[in-house]
Symmetry: C2
Subunit: 368 residues, 2 copies
């Protein structure tokens, strides 16, 4: 039983956030629902796909204490189409839900709120505090380097490593590593966790605040909790010890190339037009004094292009998967980037002077 007075705008905002934790497929039908709960003067919407749970407060809502579960997709569609801002929602003893707005009255079947799998509770200590803008950025600038499938579970997640006042986020998929470092305002004892990539992708989409809005991150042995604005997101962690990325990233190089990021990226984006889905053609970069020749040859055709560079060190010809270069170059905002290489078989890395980002990419063999 439940009786609520709600605002359409507040509901839509809450639904858009909580929807991220509604599973696309599930064998447990109750998980396809939102839990609507009114308690202590607060109305909340909760969703839980058993890996991640989201609970968010519905603004401008009030009503009697109670809960009801409602099919998330249908509820989301209905509230978007309601005629008026004012919405009255009630559920009877048979979990029959009535939604009234203006002269429109919907009646749909709900489910007993007691059957819903609620967000697990978690002991929380001191949170790590970070701006919502930075949280979103560090995720977006690394997440493409996670592996998409489950053949190595660890690779589907990202390392969150805190050391004093430094947060390091890293992702790797066996061909490349993406690392972002950022400074925190407080200092914390050293620790690290592995957060599922799926969770981070969702977080980056629902954390919409700027540099002056903050998010709190809480950690337990098996869980991470993100708190921001009116929302709590709780996710399982990936168990185990992450790869030793310090041993993979070196500071040594024999060639240093400074190149305009936009020109480099545009050229590589042109080159991938010549690659069909499963083709693995390298972009070959011929680095000389003053310019780099980029070329790609495939069954479809060839592209050849020259770009002005600044170079230190020897001449080098080296091949890369062009899609990995595109991902890294898109994640950087700098006008010029610096690309460090050693030889045609050793990894190259793109890094700024402060090491706020490091993108390491393994080269691929090529036949001239």
């Amino acid at each position: 039983m439940l009786h609520l007075n709600l605002s359409k705008t507040g509901l839509i905002t809450a639904v858009n956030i909580a929807m991220k934790a509604v599973p696309a497929k599930t064998s447990l039908p109750i998980l396809e629902c939102f839990l609507l709960r009114s308690a202590g003067g607060t109305v909340t919407l909760t969703a839980n796909d058993m890996e991640m749970a989201i609970c968010t407060r519905v603004s401008n809502a009030s009503g009697e204490e109670g809960t009801i579960a409602v099919g998330a997709k249908l509820f989301s569609e209905i509230i978007r189409k309601l005629p008026e801002e004012e919405v009255e929602l009630s559920a009877d003893e048979n979990d029959q839900i009535t939604i009234v707005s203006g002269k429109a009255k919907f009646t749909i079947a709900g489910k007993d709120g007691a059957d819903f799998v609620d967000m697990p509770s978690m002991e929380t200590g001191n949170p790590v505090v970070i701006s919502q803008f930075t949280l979103r950025e560090i995720i977006n600038q690394t997440i493409f380097s996670t592996a998409p499938n489950e053949s190595n579970k660890m690779m589907t997640g990202e390392l969150f490593e805190i050391n004093g006042s430094r947060l390091r986020v890293a992702a790797l998929d066996g061909h490349r590593i993406a690392i972002r470092n950022c400074d925190l305002t407080d200092t914390y004892p050293r620790f690290s966790v592995i957060v599922p990539g799926k969770t981070l992708g969702d977080i980056s989409r629902i954390v919409t605040g700027g540099t002056d809005d903050f998010a709190e991150l809480y950690f337990s042995r098996n869980h991470i909790q993100f708190r921001f604005d009116d929302t709590v997101v709780m996710s399982r962690l990936i168990e185990g010890e992450y790869f030793r990325i310090n041993q993979m990233v070196s500071d040594n190089y024999e060639v240093k190339m400074v190149i305009n990021r936009r020109e480099f990226l545009d050229c590589i984006e042109r080159s991938v037009l010549l690659i069909r889905e499963n083709d693995k053609k390298p972009l070959v970069i011929d680095i000389k004094d003053g310019y780099a020749s980029l070329s790609l040859n495939s069954i479809i055709g060839s592209l050849h292009e020259e770009i002005a560079i600044e170079k230190e060190g020897k001449d080098l010809t080296i091949g890369f998967n062009p899609r990995f270069l595109i991902d890294a170059l898109r994640a950087v905002n700098d006008e010029d980037i610096t690309f460090y290489m050693s030889n045609s078989r050793a990894p190259g890395f793109i890094r700024d002077a402060e090491s706020s980002y490091i993108y390491l990419i393994l080269p691929v063999n090529f036949i001239r």
Copy 2:
């Protein structure tokens, strides 16, 4: 062999238009190509899916006389990504195509232009002239009533009927009829043709001009030709005699309901949230003095809503497929619409005072 100087912008415009006549699937690989032709100082791009052919002039283009065929999809992708506005395209005696723009040089395989299936020629008499705006409107406001599949070929097309200075366009699918009438500035002898819906859908997307831009329509026994701006579109016609729509559309009614279009449409759009894909639940309209009660019941739930109306005639309860009502109401711009009905088994029709549009819809049975 071919050597052209082109502008990227001109090429992109031409490609976007001609692409509509490139078949998604074909057993004849040459049809997946554009024909690039330079003749008499004009450079054109042609595509032909054997039902419809499009030939469009490339603006700001010049070069030696010649032709080459080039894979349409790849060419479209490449030109969009070229670095500079100036483009040089050449084809050698082996149909090898080189595209140079700035410092980027693409090399791809073309095909002999002589193998391309060119647009058929057509004897043309006096054209029917109509504004591009009106042509686009009358198509968009009727095409949803064509039948999507080929079980009745005639229903996949639209009637274009000219009578004096009047053009009538009609589409029907067995459950509904959509008719638009418009006035022409000239008068023509009476005749009618059936134009494939696929052609008209494409025309409505590439004819982008306003009320002061004109399109010329030419007719032969088996073909229609549209000429506008720098483009000629030629399409087969559907053979046969169209349905006698005059006999299907009557002026008699027993109930006349005037209703706000937006309120009516919004309510029906809400109601279809309760219908799953293949479900066929009617929207039941209960028409009384001063108001209409709309209701829909399905396995998902129910919606009930009341809307103020002006009514003439008896009370009536009648059911319609809500999607057909949505299509018709979206195609009309009027603030209020007038809906004429007779009884729960006779077609209802939405029509303005001048009969510039008529949307006739068969009712469906319902159980109260």
